[in-house]
Amino acid sequence: MKIKFFTILGLLFFTSYCINAQTNAVVEKVRQKLALVNDYVAEGVMKTDVSFIKASLGKVKIYYKKPNLIKVKKDGGISLLPKGGVSITMNSLLNTDQYIAIASGKQVYNGKNLEVYKLVPTDDQLEWVISTLWIDPVESLVYKTFTTTKENGSFEITMEYGAFASYGLPSKIIFGFNTKDYKLPNGITLEFGDEAPISKEKAKKNKKGTIEITYTKYTINKGVSNANF
């Protein structure tokens, strides 16, 4: 009986090890692909879609440097970025191996068969608590992540790939995040007019905001000065 119990337990451990090894392999492949990129400067167009913000499309430059330096700069303008969200790109998420990846099934997403993995960090110093990755195991590309951070809430990032898929770099990235209420007293804004308040329904519906960057150009591994961050 005892032997039987240990055999089963041993089998279980073995199976889970085998599964883990396999799942880690998918994530690891992605990680290795991303590791090819030491730095990049990308140009793109940023679109902010938050219910209480009216902003036009803006040209942006994105600077990245290993291990986790990232900066989005609008060309001489003011940029609005999800709080803490930008630093959680794929590159920064997977620039460590201090995590456990757990396979969480498969899903068809945008016509692609994706595998879902949950990543739990083993390093307490990491900013994020848990992250779910939707990975195409064939191309080793991540199409979607949902990350919960320690301080800045949860956000969703979806990606589309194009010319730089071989580096694991997206052609389009959409940050989705929850927005909080925005309201400034009239006494401060000195607006006493008949400004139509955003309807409750619309406000509720728009509690989610997105920031979308469409990349037009990447310059990869040509060196980026620290002064840009």
Binding site: I53, K54, S56, I78, P82, K180, D181, L190, G209
Partner: protein, 291 residues
């Protein structure tokens, strides 16, 4: 007619009182600019408290364009009072001095005099506005530089790109000139009703304060009369700084959210100017100059 306008401008130029308004505007702007230069970041942080819960605003928020907007918000409430100081004195001040009767014995009709005085007062008002623009806009642009205009309204935020801002200020200043000319015309009307300087000035300022209160209080009873009050429309220069968005919530560069509102306000203000000046001419033509 031009020669009596020149004479009226000459008199305005020679009066010490003329320069009070210019000095007051310069002092107010200077104080606000210095305050924001020294402690502006704290002010911006206070304004952006709610925004910062969700987003990081990266860039020079406190630039010349925003400073100008803040200045205009504060000053366009007070400048009418300074305009009243001159406009409400144009007729009654001379009636008080006794010089009005000298003017009315010259070979110019009363209508010509009243219109010349209104035009002169209007030129003064425009000059005051240009002075305001020079200090609030150009000096702020010089001191704080320019960047996108990140405008925090009561219920939402508007981000207008740098190259899309300046023309809006030109529009806002042109609109503001209509607002201030309405005040000039009101002061003028009050001035035609009295023979002393202080009465019309106080009456004009009181009227502006009274109507501004009616315009700003959100009480259903007042809401009925609001559309007809010039004070309601005077503040609509702000409409130049609201922008249309597409269905995808993309701001359309170069657009104005509610251009019709601006047009309506300009029309209402123009009607007020016409009525106030028309009434002044009528009153002065009928008036026996007894002072």
């Amino acid at each position: 007619m031009w020669s009596i306008i020149q004479i009226e401008l000459y008199k305005i130029y020679k009066r010490p009182r003329t320069y009070i308004a210019f000095g007051a505007i310069a002092a107010l702007i200077w104080v606000i600019q210095m305050g924001l230069k020294i402690d502006g970041e704290a002010y911006a942080a206070f304004l952006m408290k709610d925004i910062n819960n969700t987003l990081i605003v990266d860039g020079k928020v406190l630039n010349g364009y925003l400073i100008c907007y803040i200045l205009l918000q504060l000053l366009l409430v007070h400048v009418p009072l300074l305009v009243a100081l001159i406009a409400a004195d144009m007729l009654s001040g001379e009636a008080n001095l006794g010089t009005l009767r000298l003017l009315f014995t010259t070979p110019y009709s009363r209508t010509q005099w009243v219109l010349a005085k209104f035009i002169a007062a209007s030129i003064y008002t425009i000059l005051l506005l240009i002075w305001l623009a020079a200090l609030a806009l150009f000096l702020s642009m010089y001191i704080f530089g320019t960047d996108d205009l990140f405008l925090m309204k009561s219920n939402y935020v508007v981000l207008i790109e740098t190259q899309d801002v300046f023309w809006r200020y030109v529009g806002a200043f042109v609109f503001a000139s209509f607002s201030l000319l309405t005040v000039t015309a009101l002061g003028f009307l009050m001035s035609s009703l009295a023979n002393n300087s202080i009465g019309p000035i106080v009456a004009t300022i009181s009227a502006i304060v009274f109507f501004t209160i009616l315009s700003t209080l959100n009480i259903p009873l007042f809401n009925v009369v609001k559309p007809y009050l010039f004070t309601t429309h005077m503040n609509n220069w702000k409409e130049f700084f609201d922008i249309q968005v597409t269905e995808n919530n993309e701001a359309i560069s170069g657009s104005i959210l509610n251009i019709q509102k601006i047009k309506t306000s300009l029309l209402v203000l123009s009607i007020h100017i016409f009525l106030f000046v028309g009434a002044s001419v009528w009153i002065m033509k009928k008036k026996d100059v007894l002072s």
